[in-house]
Symmetry: C2
Amino acid sequence: MKITLAQLNYHIGNFARNKELICNAILKAKLDNSDIIIFSELCVPGYPPLDLLDRLDFVEKCNDTVKEIAGECTGITAIIGSPVINNNKEGKKLFNSALVLSEGEIVFSAQKSLLPTYDIFDEYRYFEPGKKFSVFKFNGLRLAITICEDLWDEQPFENEFEKKSLYTISPMEELAKQKPDLVINISASPFSYSRTGIKADIFKNKARKYHLPVISVNQTGANTELIFDGASRIVNSNGDIWRQLPYFREAVETFNLDDIIAGARPSGDIDTEPIELIHKALVTGIHDYFAKTRFSSCLVGLSGGIDSALCLCLAVEALGNENARALLMPSRYSSEHSVADAVALAKNLNVKYDIINIEKPFKAFEEDLAPLFSGKEKDITEENLQARIRAVLLMAVSNKFGCILLNTSNKSEAAVGYGTLYGDMAGGLSVIGDLYKTDIYRLANYINRNGEIIPDNTIVKKPSAELRPGQFDTDSLPEYRVLDSILYQYIELQKPADRISGEGIDGATVQKVIRLINYNEYKRYQAPPVLRVSSKSFGDGRRMPLVARY
Amino acid sequence: MKITLAQLNYHIGNFARNKELICNAILKAKLDNSDIIIFSELCVPGYPPLDLLDRLDFVEKCNDTVKEIAGECTGITAIIGSPVINNNKEGKKLFNSALVLSEGEIVFSAQKSLLPTYDIFDEYRYFEPGKKFSVFKFNGLRLAITICEDLWDEQPFENEFEKKSLYTISPMEELAKQKPDLVINISASPFSYSRTGIKADIFKNKARKYHLPVISVNQTGANTELIFDGASRIVNSNGDIWRQLPYFREAVETFNLDDIIAGARPSGDIDTEPIELIHKALVTGIHDYFAKTRFSSCLVGLSGGIDSALCLCLAVEALGNENARALLMPSRYSSEHSVADAVALAKNLNVKYDIINIEKPFKAFEEDLAPLFSGKEKDITEENLQARIRAVLLMAVSNKFGCILLNTSNKSEAAVGYGTLYGDMAGGLSVIGDLYKTDIYRLANYINRNGEIIPDNTIVKKPSAELRPGQFDTDSLPEYRVLDSILYQYIELQKPADRISGEGIDGATVQKVIRLINYNEYKRYQAPPVLRVSSKSFGDGRRMPLVARY
C-alpha cells in the first residue's frame, strides 16, 4: 500500500487556490499509484481562519469545497482538514475535523478533541471538542486519525507554572483501545525555534508508547505572523524518524507503507541549525505576506545600523533586489558612517536607494511648535519628532509607489519601549520583532557566512539611535547581553523577578527592565504584526492588560 | 438576615487598591449589621487580568490578598472572586473561583464551569472548567453560588449561526438538584448597548424557572476597552427586578434578605435610554483609562467636524476642562468654517486651544519628496501626508506636555479604512471607535440636549476630510445611513452578503463595502484600543486574518 504526504502552503479564505493545490496533489498521488493521500489540518479554509469561522457563509464555502475535492477522489482516498458544523443541539457551532474522502463521498470523519487555547491558539473560541474516538478501517488496516494537539496531551512548557498535562483526556489512549495499526496526525503547527525538537519528540514518544508508526502532515508557508515549518514526519514504531519532509517548502511525496511498518531504513533526524531555520522562517514570512496580499515590492528605511540592514537582506532574499527599495534619512545628528554604511549595503545588494535629509521638515516643525514649547527644555519630544518625520517620508514613498514599508524594530527594543510610536515602530510587517538584539547579531553573521553583505562596520559599531549628539543605546538600557537574558527569562520563561539571574544581572536592573516592559504595553498594542519565530512573541500570543499596575 | 452588594471599580494587578476597596466595603457592611457581603468576579486581581494569569507570582499575590481579606471577615461572611490554583494533576492551571471567607478562613469555594471563550472573552485560555456543584449552607439557607457565565447556558446571540445553548452542561440545573434557597451570581460583565435587556432577562428567566431569588453582583469602572456597567440586580422569585444598583457607579448597599425572599415591593426595571448609557459608558471609559494609567490630561485634534467635537465634549466631562487641550491644524484645503467651528467649541467648553497651520511642514515634505515623485500625479499620498503631519504635531504636544492624544475615528470610517494610519488613526485611546457615524449624530444631539455645546454648524454640515479641494465623504463612500446599515448587518449580525438588505442598499454597494472592510484589516490591526459599547467592536473582540482573501 502506498501513502502520500502533501505538505502545502494554503491561503486563508482563498478556496479556489486551496482546492487547486489539493487537487494537483491528488493528481500527483494518482500518478504515483498511491492509495491514500494526507493533507494538513484545516487545509480547506487555510489556518488560522480566526473569526471568519463565525460566518455561516464562510463555513458553507468550506463544505462546498470539500464536496468538490471529494469528486476528485476517484481510485484514491484523501484525508483533509475542514471545519464541520456541529449538529448537536448544544455546544460550539463547529468541529475541527479530519475528513476521509473517497469516490465523491465523505466516508469517515474524526473531530479534534484537544483544542489548544493558549499563546497564539484560540481553538475553543470556535470549536466543540470531539468526544468520540474511532479508527478508520482502510485496506485491512486500522488508522487512528488525530488532529494536531490530539497527540499533545503531554507536553513540556517553558513556563514552569503550566501543567505537563494540559487536558483531562488523552485521545490516543482512547484510540489505542481499538488496536490501530498506524497513527495519522494532521496539523497546522507553526514554527518556533525552541520547539522543533519538542515537536519531533511528541511523535517519537507516541510511536514508542504505542509501538505504532506515526505519520504527521504539517503545512508550510506563512499567514501573517505565523510561519509553518512543514517538516512532516514519518516516525516508525521504534520511535525513530524514518523520513522528514523539508522545512519551509512544499512537498508531495509518496511512500510504501510496508517499508514504514517494517521500520526498515530509518534515516535519522534531520538536524538543522536553529539560526538556519530562523533565516528560512523569516524569508518565508516576508515572501508570503507579500504574495498573499498581492503586493510585490517593499521599502526599508536604512539607518546604517544592523537592524534595518538585516531586514533589507531578508527582504531581498524573499522578494528579489528589484522589488526592494531603500530610503536613507540622515539628520543633523547622524554620523558620517551612517550614510556610508547604508549606501554600502544598498550597493552590495544592488537595491535602489534615495537619500533625503530630514532637516527641512524638522526645522519647519520646530518653528511651528516654538510658540507652544517656549520655556520648555528639549527632551524626548524632539527625538520622537525625528523618528516620526522619517515615518512620514517612508509612508509617503510607500503610498506613492505601492510598496509596503517593512518595520525594523527588534524584540529587545519593543520589549522596553525603546522606539517611537508612529515613528520607527511604523510598518506593515515587523520582520525581526521576535528576535532579541543578541540574535540579530547571530543572524547578521549568518547572512555574511559566504562573504560580506552587511558591512562589517554596521555589525561592529556601538548601537545608537542617533537622535541627539553622542547618543548610544547603553545610555538608557543595560548592555544587550544582560538585557536580553532578563527579557528571555521574564517573557519566554515567565520567571518571577526574584528568580531572574545570570552574569551581570542584579535586582535593580531586573526591576527597571520589568517596569519598562509593563509600562510599554500600550506601544506594542499599536505595533505591526510580528513574524513569530520564538515560543512567545509580541502580538496575539501575548495578551496583556494596558491599564494594569503590576 | 442582611445581605450587602458591593459594586466596585477594580484596577487590574493593583492588589493594594483592590484590597482597600474590598476592606472598606466590608467595614461599611459591618456597620450596616450585614451578615454577608458579595463582591464581583475576579475582584481580587481585577478583570480581565489576561496573560498576567500565566505568571505564578501574580497568582501568588492573589492568594496572599485573599488571605489578608479573610482576616478582615470577622463577624461577617464575604464572597469574593479570585483565581485559584488547580491542584489536580491534569488540566489548566487555574480555576476562576468564588471564595467564601469567614473568620480568617476560606470556608467554601465554587469554580466557574462555563468559560466564555468568544468575542472579548478568553477564559478557557487560563481556566479549567469546574465540574463539581454544591450549595453553600449559610444561616440555615442553601446558597447556589455561580460565577457570571454559569447562568448563561442559554443566551440569544445576534449572530444567528451561534447555537442558543453554547455549552453542554447547565450549572444551575445541577445546583437545582440540591434545593437551594437563593441564587448568587458574581460577574464581570462589560457593557454593550444591545445587551442590557438580554442581561436582565438572563436573571429573570433563571429566577422564574427555578422559583428562586437571584442576586447578581457586577463590577463597574473600565479597564482599557471594557466598560463595566454595574447595574447589580436583585431579582425576586417571580422574576421581577426588586432592586437594581446604579449604572456605571460604585455602590455598596445592604438589603434585608427576608424582604427579597418574600418578593415584596418589587420596584420594577430601571429603564435607561441606550444613548444615555452609551454616554455614561464613554465618560467612564475615558476617565478610568486616565486614572488607571496615572495620566490626568488629554489632547484632541479639533477639525471643526463632529467626531473630534464629540470626543472633546466627552473628554471634558471625564477629565474636566482644565485637563483637556485642543490643537487646530488647518491646511490650504481647510474651509473657513472649520477653524471657526472648532474655536467656538473650545470656547463653549472653556478648553485651551492652539492653532498651527500645517502649510510649512507640508511644503517642506513636498519639496523633499519632489525629486522622487517627479512625473507622478498627486494622489492619496498627499492626502495621507497632511493627516500624518497633524499626527506628528499632536504627538509632539502630547510628548512635551505629558497629555494623552485621544483618537477621534468613528466605527464607520474604521470599518472601511477611511482614515490614515499614523495620521488621524493615531492616539492612545479611541473614544468613539465603536459608534457608527449615525450614532455619532445621536450622541452629539444628546450632548446638546440642554443647549448648544457642539456648534450647530458642526452637526449639520456635510462631512468632509478636507484633504483636497471640495472633498466630501460621500465622494468615496455611500451615504452614512446606507453604509452604517450594511456595516451593522455584516459586522454585528454577521449576515452573508446576499442577505444584507434595506432601504437604499443594493448588491453592488454591499460588495464594495465588504471588500473595503476585509481589505482594511491591516489598518485596524495597528489602531488604538477602542472603548467598547456594542456587541462587536473592533479590537480584541473581532480577530480577523490579515492576509486572507475573502
